[in-house]
Symmetry: C2
């Protein structure tokens, strides 16, 4: 946790916050902080800054905060992800958030197991927990939006072409011819398929919608590895 | 598991292999294969090809194999990694192997917790298990070499300059000025520091040894994310 995230409910006054639970425990036990110490803090959806510990006991931490720095500029990229199995989903969501992506589409494809859509990991609270881990890692405050699309064709044929207006879409595809490694053009829409790969009947409509296949080399990478390899090629703004 | 790895001990004749344990279980329970089915196989350190199941019962699988394709060309990169905590180490080793890296240095730095060096994850069998997962993922057969270096200064001052002869060294460093995203020059030596970052007193000798700092953007990434973002920029040969 590189940044302690504060919620609106934590604010007793404009500069005084109070919280318990996982965060208070973290401050005491992991950061081993004490009254008088200063922490990096950020308000969800707002600015980042510092918080000085006024008091700290077993289940409550009170801070005087000063928020004066804008959160980092979002990465100009949307990730479209074939829904992976739950533990992978959690890691990918946190990592994607840590890159600064602000919109993540979870998509059904033929090789996504139907049972994944029933996973507890898809409940809003479970999703938000992973997104917050990514924000805490990246010292960011703006939660990404999660978009669920369970109908591949409807999404790719009806929605995706509009999303791609003025944007550059790529998807990882082992059959693509290798091109020189370079920064992706932005704003980017980046799609990563399922572990088993996309079917030809899925690749065709993606290309027709305006997405370009790119190769990540001759080896098959895990979803989380491919996502990081691709998002690592999106230039940060400014 | 995209490739079933075979060891020399599995070979009863030049084309007949027999194995039990995790792999036999995987063939039956995960791949749900049956006699007559064909699997992708590879011999550790050797070629890849196909194996036809001759018999399969609860704890033994017998294959007739045909190995006729060379393993993919190694990625021209060495990874130098500040030793992370054990679960992260396992994931990074598997992911790094899946990129085709053939030499991985585990390095001590000031912000590596000393207890990590006592972890069971560093025992040879535990390390090899993770490397094999990476090979199975990438359909590769050549195990990476793991090099352990517990003395930072000795490694960076005495060894690294020789390693860098004819190579291009980079390390992830948040203070580096952003440069345009491009493929790294190869052969490459890529260093990723610990979660807490490198100290200035570590950055200086790295630069003196010939390593160049590069930025991965304004956000702090987890070790496993940073490794994939960097290795994703190493061009595959050929």
């Amino acid at each position: 946790m590189n940044l302690l995230l504060l919620d609106d409910d934590d604010f007793a006054t404009a500069t005084r916050v109070s919280f318990g639970g996982r965060r208070a425990h973290h401050v005491r036990r992991i950061l081993r902080a004490a009254p008088g110490d200063t922490l990096s803090v950020g308000r969800i959806g707002g600015e980042i800054g510092t918080g000085t510990i006024l008091s700290l006991d077993t289940d409550r931490c009170i801070l005087e905060v000063r928020l004066d720095t804008p959160a980092p500029t979002p990465l100009p990229a949307t990730l479209v992800l074939a829904l992976p199995r739950p533990p992978v989903l959690g890691r990918v969501l946190a990592a994607t958030t840590s890159f600064g992506v602000k919109r993540i589409v979870l998509l059904h494809t033929r090789r996504v197991e139907k049972t994944y859509w029933q996973a507890r990991a898809l409940e809003p609270a479970a999703l938000e927990e992973k997104l917050r881990l990514g924000l805490e890692q990246a010292r960011d405050t703006l939660l990404p939006e999660i978009v669920i699309r369970r109908r591949f064709r409807a999404f790719v044929e009806d929605e995706l072409p509009h999303w791609l207006e003025g944007k550059h879409g790529v998807f990882a595809h082992p059959a693509a011819s290798p091109d020189p490694i370079a920064g992706l053009e932005t704003p980017a829409v980046v799609l990563v398929g399922p572990e088993g790969g996309l079917l030809d009947t899925e690749v065709d409509p993606l290309c027709q919608a305006g997405m370009r296949p790119i190769s990540l080399g001759p080896r098959a990478l895990r979803v989380e590895t491919a996502v990081a390899a691709l998002l690592g090629r999106v230039p940060s703004p400014g």
